[in-house]
Amino acid sequence: MDTLIEARDLIRLYPGVRAVDGVSFSVRRGQCFGLLGPNGAGKTTTLEMLEGIQSPTSGSILYQGRPLDRDYRQAIGIQFQATALQDFQTVRESLAMFASLYRRTADRDELIQMCNLAELLDRDTRRLSGGQRQRLLLAIALVNDPALVFLDEPTTGLDPQSRRNFWGLIETVRRRGKTILLTTHYMEEAQRLCDEIAIVDHGQIIAQGAPLELVRQHFPAAVIRLPAAAWPTATPLPDRAEARDGAIELFVDEVAPLLEHLERIGANLNELKVQTPNLEDLFLKLTGHTLRG
């Protein structure tokens, strides 16, 4: 497989904290790789070491099989979580300023069109809305036509509409063959955008794989939930079931046979719910706490 960037045993210590505690993974060319985890899990620190912004306390990073050098900055694009742009500049001027810092640049008009900035070109960057600003920051991240793009929580703080628009934009970027490394604490985002995710907690990767496969590895296909009162008292609970918070949860790989069984024993199915486990459930199961907690 064609590995573009690889992290080996990254450790980053801050006074009194092991922010990143032995992280290794590799990202293939053309892949969208997500680091998923709650705030403070070490996602941003990991990302910044890969960006070359911070150096690891120990461990190594290889880009195309070589350690990071000066030219690495020409090859990558970064959208930070919190960035101010220089004041009193328009969108057009900001793009031009960043473009002139690089040897190679993307086609400016195409970039403007892709990020939907055409109507904002003469606006002062301080007067952009949250979504518009993120689009400009993405355009700046792409201004040097990078092979590898880092997106640090690109949709945090956006309203649902802008978030969906931005997801569409990231998918467009992917289709153009860029490799993307993003962090997020929205499992929906990870599930929609990423081919592969690494779940990070307390500075370590606790699970890694394609989102759906990960969920499948740890959960049965479905969880069937009934109110406790709907269960016939005479019948004992089956093996793969739990009583919790006044409800009964049954874990199954096939839904149809269970429904037949429930009908046979005379359970009340009026309030039955079938749930498909998702990343959030997985995270809860693996760490014992919720993703946004």
């Binding site: 990558i76 919190a82 031009a96 300023m97 810092l101 690089y102 040897r103």
Partner: protein, 343 residues
Amino acid sequence: MWHRILAIFVARNREFYRDTAGLAWNILMPILMIVGFAFIFRGDAADVFKIGVIGDAPDRASVAASFLELRHVSFVPVADPSAGQLKVERHQLDLLLDLRAAPVYWVNVNSAKGYLAERLLLGAGSFDEFEPVGGPQRQAVTGEALRYADWVLPGILAMNIMFSSLWGVGWVVVRYRKNGVLRRLKATPLSPFEFLSAQVLSRLFVVLAASLVVYVGAQWLLDFPMRGSYLALVLIYTAGALCMISLGLMVAARLRTEELADGVLNLITWPMLLLSGVWFSMDGTSPAAQAVSQALPLTHLVDGARLIMIDGAGIAEVWPQIALLTTLALGLLAIAARLFRWE
């Protein structure tokens, strides 16, 4: 490299001239100050005579004791007789008295206060011992009064350069660091050297352009004298601005909060504002104050600028100041570049 420096230079300049409030402040404040002083010091407001004295204390005590004990007269020791005479010509001293041998005094025949000071001297009566030679010997000089506004102008230009350089670089770079602009730039191929060069060049350009506007504005309002070499004037203000910008960069090299930067910059500017002779001459102040004054870069900038504008000096006369300021600027710049961190 140059196109990257240029890109940051242009962006920083835009930030300056599009910030209209800041721009107005940068240019109007010094002009208003000069006009204000011209108005306040229009007349002979001070009721104290200022008399320069050449010679040591023991001689004075024996020869001119009662004169030197006059109240409401300030006696200023003068080391360089020719500089003292120049001050009499400019009405900055009402009288200059040389007590090293037989007393000699210089008085400006165009000065009313000089006339009165001369009466005081001759009436003091303590020169009786010199009766054989007929009292102190009179040396008349002539010259128009130097208005306070004319005297203070080179200092105000220098002060404006100091503020604009220190805050325009020091405070702004710290703000960039705090709000993430530096972080964003760090992620690009821009090197610290390129970034710092762009900051220095942009501020130098902006400061000199603003000074030119202030200079022309003040010239139009006050018609102040400019007796020396324009080239020397440009050189000394450029060297001074570079020195202040480098100092600002040094402050900005590591600090993370604007509040701390503000405090440090105030700590740097206030002693210079008070002890560099911008507002009042350091002649006659305590030796300690004068020593501190000599250690401040603004003092040399103000001295050099006054030598050129008021005393008509050229490059030959002010090269020590220019060389000193340039050397200091380069040293501070090297330190700032070594200390600099993006984050």
